[in-house]
Every structure is written in structure tokens, then in C-alpha cells.
Amino acid sequence: MEADELLVLVAGGDQKAFEDLYALVSGPVFGLVRRVVRDPAQSEEVAQEVLLELWRSAARYDPGRGTALAWVLTLAHRRAVDRVRSARAAGERELRMARRANGPAFDHVAEEVEAGLEREWVRRCLDRLTALQRQSVTLAYYDGYTYREVAERLSLPLGTVKTRMRDGLTRLRNCLGGVA
């Protein structure tokens, strides 16, 4: 069964369906959270919150507003970004050290066969963006910076960053080719 169908069952309190849903989405949820949060212990904590929230709020999934997968990963991304921003605001040293130890984007993620090829394609497509498009998209999505922070970091006007983000995502879509 697909995530969309499973979510409907989960909304009805079906624990077995939740186990199936867990099997489908726990890898993407955990991987994404770890990518944004970096710190392993915190990543696990956030992933746990997200997965439990899927159970609690499954009834809020609205198929009219996108796929179940988008809903799940949007939720995971938002929670991860919240965590990384509050950690940043608190100037948490540990996290910064973990980030440094883990190196720049792309390098620290262990090679896993299943996601490997998809990762390769996404990377290839990211490479085809202009540097500003790529940085605007990845600083926001993978590193959890707001577009104002991105503008500051790249010394660009706000309007330019918004445009680069949209153009970057659109170009990514074209490169990935009707697959989504």
C-alpha cells in the first residue's frame, strides 16, 4: 500500500497500518532530519517527534493539498528546521561542533544503496543550477536558514534570493524530469 492509503487507515487508529507507514517513511524522515539537524542524538529525538506526530495528526492529512509523502516530509522538514533554528538562536556550541565535524553538505551522509542513485541524480541536477540558485536552495532546505539569512550570507537583495529559490526549484524539477 502507498503512503496515501496508509495515512487514511492510520487516521482511523489502525496500528498495523502505522507500522507499514513507518517502514515506508522512517528512512526518508530520519535521513532528512539528520541532514538538517546534524547532531545524531538530536536528530533521533526530532525524528521520533515527527513519526509520533504522524500517528497523532494523520487525520489532518488533506490529499487535496499534495501527496502523502510531501505532507510527511514537509512536517519532518519543518520540525528539523525549528530545532536547528532554536539551537542556533541559543548559540549552542555542541551543535556547531557537530556541524564542523560532519563537514560540508553531501560529504557526511553514509552511502546507502537504496537512496544512493536518487542522491546521485539529485546531486547531478543540483550541479546544473547556477551557483546562486544552488546555494539559495540548499542553504535554506538542507541547512535551515531563512531566506533573509540566505540573502545576508550571499550578500544578495531579498528579491533576488526569492527568485533564485524559485528558479532553482523549477530547474531542479525539469532536470529530474517528470518523475516526481
Partner: protein, 262 residues
């Protein structure tokens, strides 16, 4: 005048919103705007799916302990009630039109890398599909069946099936010693009119190698497989196929558990 200008500015927040890159205040304002502006709602929907691709490529196995903790918590956590506003959406979700067809591929709904037990299921699926074929097709497939039997008879023949979260996948029976595999697609649907599904052998060194076109659930026999092959991938290509993939794979399957990639 100011209000028009502000509205215009709001429209431009769709991309940062889809990337969760708005400050809390803007975020709230834009969500309000989304309820009123269909253009932005549609744009966000599309951009979100793009972001999902970025997310999907970071997938990593979650620690086993996490599963235990989550499932235990689930047993002890009450659920929030459904929001009252969307009864129509729920009803639609319960009867999605295209699902029945997909569920017929249930033999393939096996976790990636389950081996011998899956072989029987793959074979059942391979031969089960012949019931509705014409005589021509059957003759053709009987010849294929001999090839398939040949692959299956190899002492090192193993099966693997995998599917992604959207129910698309591949079933493979392969023999590393024979360097041959029987491959069937599952849940791929039919590509657009002038498009085909093309199967590729992916290698760490060197370009992807075309193994032919996948036609519905007809098994494809691939021979002369390179021992260093790491995975199979299916892409959507212009009719007739392409010399090299021109789009990202719709499905992929690791060959590691089948004795390849060494």
C-alpha cells in the same frame, strides 16, 4: 496601491515558504494568503513536490531503537480528532480511483533484499500474467520462459524485489554466474503516448548500459550483465529508447544481494 504592492510581494514568497525559509511572522501571513490565493496554493503544491525530491535523496535507515520507541509510544498515545472542515477530502481519499490496479502487484510488495522466499513469488508473478495473452504472445513468452527457467535453474539464482513509497518497483531473478537476469516492472503504469520505460544497468565506473525497453509486466531477459553492476534503474525515455538516460530513474533496485557489484 500599497495593498496591491503587498499582495504582489506575498506572491513571491511561495518558494521560500516551500523551503520553510520564512520567518515566523511571514510564515503566518503567507499561510493566510494561501487560503485565498489559488495561484500561490498551486505553486506551493508543485514546489513542495520538488522539495520532496531533495528530501528523498537524503534517506538513511533509521536506528532500530527508534522504531521500538515510536511503536511503543503509538500504543499509548491517543490521536487528534479529524478536523471538521474537510469531509469531502476524506471521502475522496478513501476511494481513490487508480488504486485497484496497483494492488494487483501485491506479490512485489516485499521488503528489498528478501531473497529465496521471494523467488517463488516472482516466478508466480512472471507466469501469472500470461493468462490474458494472445497465442502469439504466449509462444513468444514460452521461448522467454525457457530462458527464464535457465536463469532460475542456475545454482546461484536469487530473487529480489523492491518498490518505492509510490508502489513502483522491480522484481528480479538473477544469476551472477550466468550473468543473466529476468526483470519485471511493477506499478510503473504506462508512460505518456510517445514515451517508453527503458531499463538500465548501472555501474560505478562507466555509463549506464541499456538493457532494453520494459513493456508493461512482460518479463525482460537481460544477459551479459557486467559483474560490477550495482543496480538496475528504469527511466522514461522518448519512444524507441535513448542511448543514455535523459531523465532521472522512476525506480531503481540494488543488485548487491544478488551477487553483483563485487
Amino acid at each position: 496601491m500599497t495593498s496591491i504592492f503587498r499582495r504582489g510581494e506575498l506572491h513571491s514568497l511561495a518558494a521560500p515558504y516551500a523551503l520553510d525559509a520564512l520567518e515566523p511572522k511571514e510564515h503566518k501571513r503567507f499561510e493566510k494568503h494561501l487560503g485565498r490565493c489559488e495561484d500561490c496554493a498551486a505553486e506551493v503544491r508543485a514546489l513542495r513536490e520538488d522539495a520532496v525530491r531533495l528530501a528523498w535523496s537524503t534517506a538513511a535507515p533509521a536506528p532500530a531503537a527508534l522504531r521500538d520507541r515510536v511503536l511503543t509510544a503509538v500504543r499509548n498515545t491517543p490521536q487528534d480528532p479529524a478536523p471538521a472542515a474537510e469531509p469531502r477530502e476524506r471521502a475522496r481519499a478513501e476511494r481513490p480511483p487508480s488504486r485497484a490496479r496497483r494492488s494487483s502487484f501485491s506479490p512485489f510488495l516485499i521488503p528489498l533484499a528478501s531473497t529465496t522466499a521471494a523467488a517463488a513469488l516472482v516466478v508466480a508473478a512472471l507466469f501469472g500474467v500470461q493468462a490474458s495473452r494472445t497465442q502469439d504472445r504466449l509462444d513468444q513468452e514460452r521461448a522467454q520462459a525457457r530462458e527464464i527457467t535457465h536463469v532460475l535453474a542456475a545454482p546461484d539464482a536469487r530473487a529480489v524485489t523492491g518498490r518505492d513509497a509510490k508502489g513502483r518497483g522491480l522484481g528480479v531473478v538473477a544469476s551472477a554466474s550466468q550473468r543473466a537476469a529476468v526483470v519485471t516492472g511493477a506499478g510503473l503504469g504506462s508512460p505518456a503516448d510517445d514515451r517508453v520505460h527503458q531499463l538500465w544497468l548501472m555501474r560505478p565506473e562507466g555509463k549506464p548500459r541499456s538493457l532494453g525497453l520494459l513493456d508493461g509486466d512482460t518479463p525482460l531477459i537481460a544477459t551479459g550483465l557486467n559483474p560490477d553492476a550495482t543496480s538496475l534503474a528504469v527511466t522514461v525515455e522518448p519512444s524507441g529508447g535513448s542511448p543514455q538516460p535523459t531523465t532521472a530513474p522512476v525506480v531503481q533496485l540494488a543488485l548487491e544481494s544478488l551477487g553483483f557489484g563485487e
